[in-house]
Symmetry: C2
């Protein structure tokens, strides 16, 4: 039925590709492209014989629009799934626009070099205007809206779990559960245990940015910014138990604030264990999280890169991580004139994910929605022309596929609220 | 009156040298020798004009007995003060024996390479025999006892504060306060604050060994070994306040067990702040305290050495450290048929030390007793021939000089005991 070009072959991409191959009724041809061809070939070798999807591979440097254009022209896909690095979002969008192909990604564009003065100026202007200071946001990609519309193309932004499924949950709540949604709390809980005193699921530099950036939330039509990790709550998560969580800025707050009409407050909380936070703090205190090179024995060494070399390889965590994730949204609002509350969430088990696709739940919960987003686009179930986030489409077919493809969700009425 | 050769020009040596120069009635000539001649010359330049002591300097590699012998022959000192590294104790003792010169040091011999199989074999045999596993102990230096006696020479081992003054306190308690000492608790409290979240007063590798080595104490004629940091107490220290302290192995327990007749239990406690311990633990967990080289960007890097490069230079802590140290011994026992308890201790202020000798109290409390030990030997007040620890001499003249030279002590009857 559809031919898809996947750019990227890391943890999340591998899950998305494996899940596409399980749905060979929809994804009849896949081209897997990344900087490292051997990774693509290895994955292809694992999958062939277990799927009817016809798989090809290609080498591409996705930083280079020209290379991506050439690849698209050769492959002639119906859709480009960008599961590479967020740094490459714009180069890939340019290429898709040039070739007239729909595309999706799983995370907001962020510049690779946040010290670049051109970026810095734009960023600081936006922080001043908008009132929040996350280095990632939608402005860069929303700027493509008119061009995509004119070209009759669709770009689906952020089709992972959060952002992604969380926004589909909001659209579902808006469509079926509420006349007016007043507050949304997005809760991202990882109850997984890898058995190491300290390890990070991905690049420690990105982990650090998360915990050291100011938090922010949307309230009464404006952003409220608070010091990093200054708003702390505990919550008793289904399938996981009681966990500490902290308010963070998160990208989907920005689009939900525009698209959920009448919403008064949107917050995002993520769980962090005390041990994780203590290690981050101690490492920061001694300078080990610094990105500024230090002269050591005649060589320039970037402390956080040396730390990365000492820590367990994130890829090695998969087989040893046990426990579950629980990600979802708590809503308060009004239905048929009555106040009500509801909680939509998914619980995902690290070991079950690993048995199914050789990745733990962190990659699984992002990779599956990427596949489903692709399915929505190639089947034409989502077909608005322009640049959109997931809550701007009909949630029902997406919600149905979540249940069918390993991410079943629950709706709980009158849940425990976050104060 | 006396000519002394000082080997070493680091933090402790600088204090000892400055204090010798304040006692130019005793120390009429000093030769300062170290690996780095410029350090000796710089200290000489600071002191000249402010003392009658005649100062010369020399370069020496104290690892090499021959170089030390040549230096002693040239300088012709009455005493060698070894305030270099503990690794060099034996080379210097050999040189002094060859030249017929008395000597003292401030810390037990420890091999530089604890992986050396010759050392390893001896060490493991001793641990098995004795029942404790500190990598430093007196056996190596006690083995010189007969040779020193025959040569009519004296070696004073460990004339710092702990070991050193703590043993003099014990001898004083034995001479004046008790007929029988039953228990000794040595309490080493550093209540100093340098204002950094984490920094070490000396080499972090040595700090690490301290907190990661098994603790041990002497009880009823044998060693009791316990897991690292497993015995924790709090104590309310005069001049400092309440502090957490942990039982450690410490070298003077070994000599006191032999020399304080009838003693039933000897323990050593050192204070550590929770923040210090948390940082050490986190750094250990991620591998930053490892001494095993790691391959990084084509170069072998020893994690703890890279950490050392990131941490504040210990020498920079002096001017910014505030607060006090409190080091002393609590005794229980019998006098005139009655049970009694007593506590002898010194309180030392980091800032006052810095104003006097440009070093904080950690170096001060070790350097002053080194000077006093030297005074005991060159004045003949301590003159037994052989290899001895401080408690084996008459404590009274040493105690008198502590009061005169910046380390006044108190005796408190019926103190708070450690349970």
């Amino acid at each position: 039925m559809a031919k898809v070009l996947v750019i990227g072959c890391g943890g999340v991409a591998s899950v998305a590709i494996r899940k596409c191959c399980m749905r060979d009724d929809v994804f009849t041809e896949l081209c897997i492209a990344s900087r490292t061809l051997s990774k693509c070939d290895a994955l292809k070798a694992k999958l062939e014989g277990r799927t009817k999807t016809k798989i090809t591979t290609a080498q591409v440097d996705a930083d280079k629009t020209d290379e991506v254009i050439a690849l698209i022209k050769r492959v002639q896909p119906d859709l480009v799934m960008n599961i590479a690095l967020p740094y490459q979002d714009l180069a890939i969008m340019d290429a898709c626009l040039a070739c007239g192909v729909n595309n999706l990604d799983t995370a907001n564009y962020a510049p690779e070099n946040t010290d670049d003065p051109v970026w810095r100026e734009k960023y600081e202007k936006r922080c001043k205007q908008e009132g929040f200071s996350a280095y990632f946001d939608y402005t860069w990609q929303w700027a493509y809206g008119d061009k995509y519309k004119k070209a009759g193309l669709t770009a689906l932004l952020g089709s992972g779990f959060d952002p992604g499924v969380t926004q589909v949950f909001c659209a579902y709540a808006q469509k079926h559960l509420f006349d007016t949604i007043e507050t949304i709390d997005i809760l991202d809980c990882n109850g997984g245990d890898h058995g190491y005193p300290f390890a990070t699921n991905f690049n420690p530099e990105i982990n650090l940015r998360e915990v050291s950036a100011p938090g922010s939330y949307w309230e009464n039509g404006r952003w409220v910014e608070v010091p990093a990790m200054s708003i702390h709550r505990t919550y008793n998560f289904d399938g996981v138990g009681e966990k500490d969580m902290y308010l963070l800025h998160h990208e989907e707050i920005e689009s939900l604030a525009k698209n959920i009409k009448g919403v008064k407050r949107i917050r995002f909380f993520m769980t962090f264990g005390q041990s994780y936070l203590t290690h981050m703090k101690c490492l920061e205190n001694v300078g080990m999280l610094s990105t500024t090179p230090v002269e050591f024995e005649g060589k320039e060494i970037v402390p956080i890169q040396f730390l990365k070399a000492l820590l367990p390889d994130p890829a090695s965590l998969g087989p040893r991580t046990v426990g579950k994730t629980n990600i979802g949204c708590i809503f308060t609002g009004v239905k048929d004139g009555k106040r009500k509350t509801a909680y939509i969430y998914n619980v995902c088990d690290h070991q079950e994910c690993y048995r199914e696709v050789e990745s733990q739940a962190i990659s699984y919960t992002t990779g599956v929605p990427a596949m489903i987003g692709a399915m929505m686009l190639v089947t034409g179930k989502w077909n608005k022309k322009g640049v959109y986030t997931p809550e701007e489409f009909d949630p029902d077919p997406f919600m149905e596929e979540l249940n069918k493809n390993g991410l079943p969700w629950k709706v709980v009425e009158s849940p425990e609220l976050v104060d």
